[in-house]
Symmetry: C4
Subunit: 206 residues, 4 copies
């Protein structure tokens, strides 16, 4: 009796959840009725929504690439991988909520900004930690790993897949003092993480 | 003339519906305007929404795994399987509505809580019953089953795929007395069902 | 130079649109705040929403099966098939709007009911006509059809794929006199169309 | 070490985002409560929403075909292609927001119409420019292109994939004078672009 799962349907289902979560983000952006009197002004006033949209879009896009990078190196999934993956998807699907809060809170009061920006950062942190735990668990079970994946590559992915836990903590701490600057910090982390993923390539078979 | 359908497109379509239903759940969570005055308090006040979100996310995730477990054992689908599957998807897609009701009703009045929690349980019950009927129907038609699937495995899946009808009934009854505790009961059932699915593995071909 | 397209990506994209449209329907159902004072009553009062939900869910489910039945018989798609398919998807994606209108209008005034139920029927009619035109166009271009599909099968699908245009017209006319009964008529048409699709099976290769 | 990505998962993920963005458009259309007193009038009053819906649906549908046309000619994706693709998806997913603004602004004031129609056009322009840059970048890197794709075909796609940047600029300029006419101009551009995509066919291997 095998207690292993094929990863192909797991990946297809996860891809669906990532694609939907990333596309739903736009539903939260709108201009209030009063904004139509001076619509260019009304559009400009929504800048925190655009910032939050871009940040979460690039974050989820980067997470999708990281997820893809992990699962194409797995030969199969066991019960722990399945559970960690459901937890990861639950956190990624949750991100539109703190995204909306951050977009609404910016420019209300500094207290609301601080709470929303820190809450957003804590969800980012949870996503990063679960991703990291998922890969480290798999790395510790060589029977789950695709045959061609060497030790060095496993370590390289561990570094890549760990999406900047330290940077996120630093930005969360910054949010206590300057929440608006911290909000831009998340965007910067997302862009850097996206570009770093580009380095994640499997060596072509010789 | 064959009256059989290939299951691959059926599975892909069903996967899409599961992935969308699970990701839409977040759209129902928001903090009212008054919550932004004390945003940490406003975020904390939404705890019934987080409970309902986690419960429905894990329930649908577990249902997806159960659905996958059933359909990869089917060689083909007949008219009855098609109809039961549409009915099952209709109930799974319906779950975001009682999820929203439960999240809104908790902490309003005990009467509202009781109605919402029982209504949620009845939808869970309907999902479980239809899933069970679907598998029992297939199990009774050996020509629908993949050649390699033995009688013992069919019975094991019948047990696994029956998602705790008795437990759901018990929690629904509990909801008459203590609806808030019953709401946590659904979460517990979902988590247990998810872990039990992990045992659903086809023996590797010898 | 070929002016033909492979149908596989067309089908995958169409499947996505069908799956999303069918799952979005639930977002329109909610109980107003006043309904929480007597929540069982509030839930019961939403019956027009459940009727509209079930009707549109089964209609789109049946349309998806019909769409699948058409495209698996096409060897390739030309410019006309592409355009008719985009038009068909646009109409299917539009259905959640008249669904919402019908759910809201029932039990307001008979005038509003009549308008909403007729409008819903006209959209159904447009979907049926475009589906029928799509298949008849393909049937008239033998080079688009899969080699193994015989004349008799083409005619049988023409009958199946024409989703009851006469019945829809009859129910739309009925809506002028008795709109609520006509609303149930659409549900009946959807259920019958779903079961008739079950007869759509390609003969297995001999 | 290769720094190349397979394009198949990239395409599947992009298809998901296109399918979701196109189907979400309908969520923004509704008839206000006051419209139910004379529901045919209320439905008719929503014409700007139908115009915006059809325009964005056909635009995204055409973009999906163009995207498909580009990626099936790519043998692999490098870091730049990945980044440009994420940027393109972010802009396509953003389109429902200016769609909603345009639908709401038409028939409010000419100032609001002008702002909304120009804003919509600027997003269209950004989508077209990024698509064009993406293909031109790939065209300049022969190692990314599928072996069978000739120079002439690369140039033909460059022309096709450039979705009428000049026409969009002209309509944006028209919007300064006559925004309602310009809104219909976008629909015309979308329909023409859709039909021009039909000419995008790879020569069958001889």
């Amino acid at each position: 009796m095998s207690d292993r799962w094929s990863t192909s349907r797991l990946e297809a289902f996860s891809d669906g959840v990532f694609a939907i979560a990333i596309t739903l983000l736009i539903l939260e952006i709108s201009v209030p009725d009063s904004g139509f009197e001076d619509l260019w002004g009304g559009i400009a006033d929504q800048w925190p929504s655009y910032l939050a949209y871009a940040t979460s879009f690039i974050t989820i896009g980067g997470m999708w690439i990281a997820h893809h990078g992990i699962f194409r190196r797995l030969a199969s999934a066991d019960a722990m991988v399945m559970s960690l993956n459901i937890l990861l998807l639950m956190l990624v699907s949750f991100l539109p909520f703190p995204t909306k809060l951050m977009a609404e809170a910016i420019d209300i009061t500094t207290d609301a900004e601080r709470a929303a920006v820190i809450f957003y950062g804590l969800v980012l942190l949870a996503i990063s930690v679960v991703t990291s735990v998922l890969w480290r668990y798999a790395a510790g079970h060589p029977d789950l790993i695709e045959p061609g994946v060497g030790d060095e590559e496993v370590r390289a992915i561990a570094t890549l897949a760990t999406p900047r836990i330290g940077f996120i903590v630093a930005v969360v701490l910054l949010a206590f003092i300057a929440p608006q600057i911290a909000a831009f910090g998340y965007l910067l982390i997302a862009v850097i993480a996206l570009f770093r993923q580009h380095g994640d390539t499997r060596p072509a078979p010789a």
